[in-house]
Symmetry: C2
Subunit: 181 residues, 2 copies
Amino acid sequence: MEKLKEIKKSSKKLFDGRLIKVKIDTVKLPNGKESTREVIEHPGAVAVIALTDENEMILVRQFRYPTGEVLLELPAGVPNKGEALEKAARRELEEETGYYAKKVKKILSGYSTPGYSNEIINYFIAEELTLHKQNMDEDEFVEVDIIDLEALLDLAYAGKITDNKTIIGIMMADAYLKGKV
Amino acid sequence: MEKLKEIKKSSKKLFDGRLIKVKIDTVKLPNGKESTREVIEHPGAVAVIALTDENEMILVRQFRYPTGEVLLELPAGVPNKGEALEKAARRELEEETGYYAKKVKKILSGYSTPGYSNEIINYFIAEELTLHKQNMDEDEFVEVDIIDLEALLDLAYAGKITDNKTIIGIMMADAYLKGKV
């Protein structure tokens, strides 16, 4: 670790937004030279691998403005201030899809793009689902899609799933149902 | 698509960095109301799933400043201006690890965090490797680690791999070797 580490020398805040903060830090490299690092600060997220009793996944389709596309994704979102991750996972699933999960369990965490962001996504398996009512944020427009896991695996292997957390969710769901996770 | 789409009304540039650009756009939502979207523009990346003839993967460990941690990752990077993705994949693998890949093939692409960034990661399988010489960028410090794919799968299922593109790389390598990809 030590011989790879970069030390912060100074930090300049560039933007403090609703979701992200942007800063540029000057760092001392392992060879003693200086460089700059562009950094996005993000509060972290939860993503929900919601499985029905028939081995289907509850997914959402939404327009992702930065990409200009509608993507098929795991239900996901950012915890409220002070909200526990597990509670946030249950809430995001219910808000976006209407499904309440009796059983929720964290299985892993992964950085989404560690070269320039500290965002970490916490993945939860959600089971024992019952349908309540969709209750989205005011500026959220989401369609629910329930798809058989085997079909999703085929789509992922064929390169038809284009959101990284959703690719992970599909492959982890398969491993989970096979008792590997 | 149309009923989920958000239309750009105006755009304000906030930062034009070495790697990323940051802007805040005002958009018209599907319900006619306005909202803002914080957007990172990123040129896109390549990530390399490099497999030896003995079913090992060539990975790298590097300090990721935004996370404050050394992460185990697929070799990856950003194409040079005008550089084809396949060429960039081969170059990044060779620069970071010293391995030249005779056979390189794109298998999928995925957005890393589409809620606020347009970054897409293009995944390549690299095979028929021969060891040349590591040749890193001036401000890059990377250690190479060659690990058996079965061991990596166990680490991924146990939540010990904490970089999303690397989790995908490991699981796609397994699917590829089983003829599913």
